[in-house]
């Protein structure tokens, strides 16, 4: 068995897939792992180098030879919280290149099902996050948001908010992964690596901000119908783990 050791970002994973595939050792004789995993005897370890070219080759051929749909599912799988996502994506692609876009319907195949489940979990969380994420206005003119999603969602969220708020400066900071999407009013956005201390000292809440937070909390309370109160149902839809980042729960 030859193990290809790669980084955790989607580009790293796609490069890992490239190297493993192009090694021509056969799909059953290769495995993908992340840096820092336990090493086994009797395995050969090869370090994967990440280059834009290799990653591009893999994503292009998924797009052109299979479909955009499979590409999106693959990309999301690479952003999944699943620890073994690199190898699982590899197994999925083996099927996908064989079956074509039909693979999306072959949920009864375990390798497909794995990636499907990863997608489902990610999509569900993304859907939550797009609604539950809160921004606050800073004196520096930036709308600031802090998140801690289980899957690596910041890229997907950034493209959502870039379409939604093109004329705002905003920043979405993933405090689990220490990276942020930063968007400039009227311009584009990008991902930056940033420790919390780097922005914390530079951003300050706008004075007016408290007024809007109070208004929102008021609304959040009055809009409930007392006769229908149902805390369990509320908790079901809005699990506690999201609440520490939401304005209406910060009393």
């Amino acid at each position: 068995m030859t193990v290809f050791v790669c980084g955790r970002e989607p580009e790293d994973i796609f490069c890992g897939i490239y190297d493993a595939w192009m090694s021509r050792l056969g799909h059953d004789h290769v495995r993908l792992e992340f840096e820092g995993c336990d090493r086994e005897l009797f395995c050969e370890y090869r370090q994967v180098e990440t280059t834009a070219e290799k990653a591009g080759k893999v994503t292009d051929s998924i797009r052109k030879k299979i479909s955009q749909e499979v590409y999106e599912a693959s990309y999301k799988a690479a952003l999944s919280r699943e620890k073994d996502r690199a190898d699982k994506l590899y197994r999925f692609l083996v099927y996908a290149f064989w079956a074509g876009n039909r693979v999306m319907d072959m949920l009864q195949i375990p390798a497909v099902n794995e990636v499907f489940s990863m997608n489902r979990h990610l999509n569900r969380e993304l859907d939550h996050m797009l609604g539950f994420t809160r921004f606050s206005q800073t004196k520096e003119g930036v709308l600031f948001s802090e998140i801690a999603p289980e899957n690596d969602l910041v890229v997907l969220m950034a493209s959502h908010f870039a379409d939604r708020m093109p004329m705002e400066n905003w920043m979405i900071y993933d405090c689990k992964r220490n990276k942020a999407a930063v968007h400039r009013a009227g311009g584009g956005w990008g991902i930056v690596r940033a420790e919390k201390s780097q922005w914390q000292t530079r951003l300050h809440k706008e004075k007016e901000e408290e007024m809007f937070e109070r208004l929102w909390k008021t609304f959040h309370q009055t809009i409930a119908i007392k006769e229908r109160e149902n805390e369990a149902c509320q908790k079901n839809h809005l699990p506690l783990r999201y609440r520490s980042y939401m304005t209406e729960w910060n009393r």
């Binding site: 749909e69 599912a73 079956a99 039909r102 999306m104 319907d105 072959m106 949920l107 009864q108 099902n113 499907f116 997608n119 489902r120 999509n123 569900r124 993304l126 859907d127 939550h128 797009l130 609604g131 539950f132 994420t133 921004f135 606050s136 206005q137 709308l143 908010f161 870039a162 379409d163 939604r164 708020m165 093109p166 004329m167 705002e168 809007f212 109070r214 208004l215 929102w216 008021t218 609304f219 959040h220 309370q221 009055t222 809009i223 409930a224 119908i225 007392k226 006769e227 229908r228 109160e229 149902n230 805390e231 369990a232 149902c233 509320q234 908790k235 079901n236 839809h237 809005l238 304005t247």
Partner: protein, 471 residues
């Protein structure tokens, strides 16, 4: 009556959201629109939930009244003329500020603006028009707007508002003319249906115009209003699409003695004759102490509301007709069984259904199989013969379905296809759910809705709304 306009915005928001909360619609669904270069906002066809209130309902829109002042005296309404409550009104600027600032912070998906009737329908509709005009054209708001069409307002005014809004609604509130006469003096069915008809005509006209411009504007995945044809039609009709997310209405459940059968017949007629996108059902909450209103010692009829939503779902997505579900002789839903199970038990001669052969329509009629499960089965069986293990892998929930299906001619385990036996199995599970709804306990998912969308994002809003009855 004194309207307090000088009140601070915090206080106003409290009063005017409190007064708006009995309108159950809070969805931001039905239209996809990309962001605009110099504006703020976009919309998603499936809608987005931004929070959940203490009653477990999804919060998607800033739901407020423009004013809680009203010249009418509807018996069930907290804002009725004869109630002694503090009256206030927003200014258009205040509504705009709240909407824009809430939206920027991602608190909301848009605005739901309703209102009591201040002076006259025209006067009120005009206020709403000016507010929306400002929000769209001065503030550059491009997010979701749901606005009330006020019965009796000038048709031209309604038309103008329709070009600023995404969705419009007129609440029927009571399903029969008799109910309206008793509880909503001053309103008649004709009066309520008139704006609905106007909006419907506006939408139809716009669609025809689009067709004339050739290319269908419905081809893109995002943007019912998108595409060149849409743009051409928009240019013709004043830039924006007319009520692109369609219309909805609401009926109160349990304020008057109408049966479930009457309710779903009315809903069916509204879907057919007025092209409504949604009919909402709102369990009656007794906010006024009035002898003409029923006393509800057990609280609002939540289980009944839930059954109506389930049935409504069957009418819209599962190809059922009201007459198949209920009749004059059996006018109300079974407390212990959801409407689809109930129907299936009365039609055991049609079951079991073979998973590897049955067509889409037939699969949809199986209890426990939803739209997505059925589609997934059709897709998967093209490449393989499916057994029960495969169904599980596809995410099909078998709990109820197992009594109604076979895989390659076999049921999952041997049992007698006999009404009493199956009913007993189904009721056990359903009884727990029903009890939980009645007693405000948690229940995870509505039966008809168990399977989530496959690769695409799950629409939380819809899933949530079905359960809480606020779809």
């Amino acid at each position: 009556m004194l309207i307090q306009e000088a009140m601070d915005i915090q206080e106003k928001l409290k009063i005017l959201s409190d007064a708006a909360k009995y309108d159950v619609a809070c969805t931001s669904s039905g239209v996809s629109r990309n962001g605009k270069k110099n504006g703020l906002g976009n919309t998603y066809a499936s809608g987005i939930c931004h929070s959940f209130s203490a009653d477990g309902r999804c919060i998607s829109l800033l739901k407020i009244l423009f004013t809680n002042q009203c010249i009418y005296d509807c018996k069930y309404c907290i804002n009725r003329r004869s109630n002694d409550v503090v009256r206030t009104a927003f200014t258009p600027e205040e509504v705009c500020t709240l909407t824009m600032e809430f939206y920027r912070r991602n608190y909301i998906e848009g605005l739901f603006l309703s209102s009591g009737i201040l002076y006259s329908p025209d006067y009120t509709m005009n206020l709403l028009y000016h507010t929306l005009y400002r929000l769209r054209n001065v503030c550059g708001f491009n997010g979701y707007i749901h606005v009330k069409a006020i019965p009796g307002a000038d048709p031209e005014l309604l038309r103008q508002v329709g070009f600023l809004a995404d969705r419009m609604s007129t609440n029927l509130e009571l399903p029969t003319a008799e109910g309206l006469r008793r509880l909503a003096p001053g309103k008649t069915r004709e009066k309520i249906l008139q704006p609905m008809r106007l909006v419907q005509r506006g939408i139809v006209q716009q669609d025809q115009m689009r067709l004339e411009y050739g290319k269908s504007s419905f081809s893109g995945t995002r943007g019912v209003a998108g595409g060149e044809a849409g743009n051409a039609a928009k240019a013709e009709t004043g830039k924006r699409s007319f009520v692109p997310a369609g219309q909805s209405t609401q009926m109160i459940v349990g304020a008057t003695p109408e049966s479930d059968y009457q309710m779903i017949r009315v809903a069916e007629a509204l879907y057919r004759n007025y092209d409504l996108k949604r009919v909402f059902y709102s369990a009656f909450v007794r906010v006024n102490d009035d002898s003409s209103l029923p006393a509800l010692p057990g609280g609002p009829p939540l289980l009944r509301e839930h059954r109506l939503y389930q049935a409504d779902w069957l009418l819209r997505f599962y190809g059922f007709q009201a007459e198949e579900l209920l009749s004059e002789d059996r006018p109300n839903f079974n407390v212990l069984l959801d409407p689809k199970c109930d129907w299936a038990l009365r039609h055991l001669e049609l079951f079991p259904v073979e998973i590897n052969r049955a067509d889409y329509k037939t699969l949809l009629r199986v209890p426990g199989l939803g739209v997505k499960s059925a589609r997934r089965i059709l897709a998967a069986r093209r490449s393989a013969r499916l057994d029960f293990g495969d169904l599980k892998k596809l995410g099909v929930v078998l709990k109820r379905a197992v009594y109604f299906i076979t895989c390659s001619g076999k049921t999952m385990y041997p049992f007698q296809i006999e009404e009493n036996y199956i009913a007993a199995q189904l009721v056990g599970e359903e009884r727990r759910k029903a009890w939980e709804i009645e007693y405000h306990e948690s229940f995870r998912q509505l039966s008809l809705f168990e399977d989530n969308r496959i690769w695409a994002p799950v629409t939380r809003e819809d899933a949530a709304a079905v359960i809480t009855g606020s779809l």
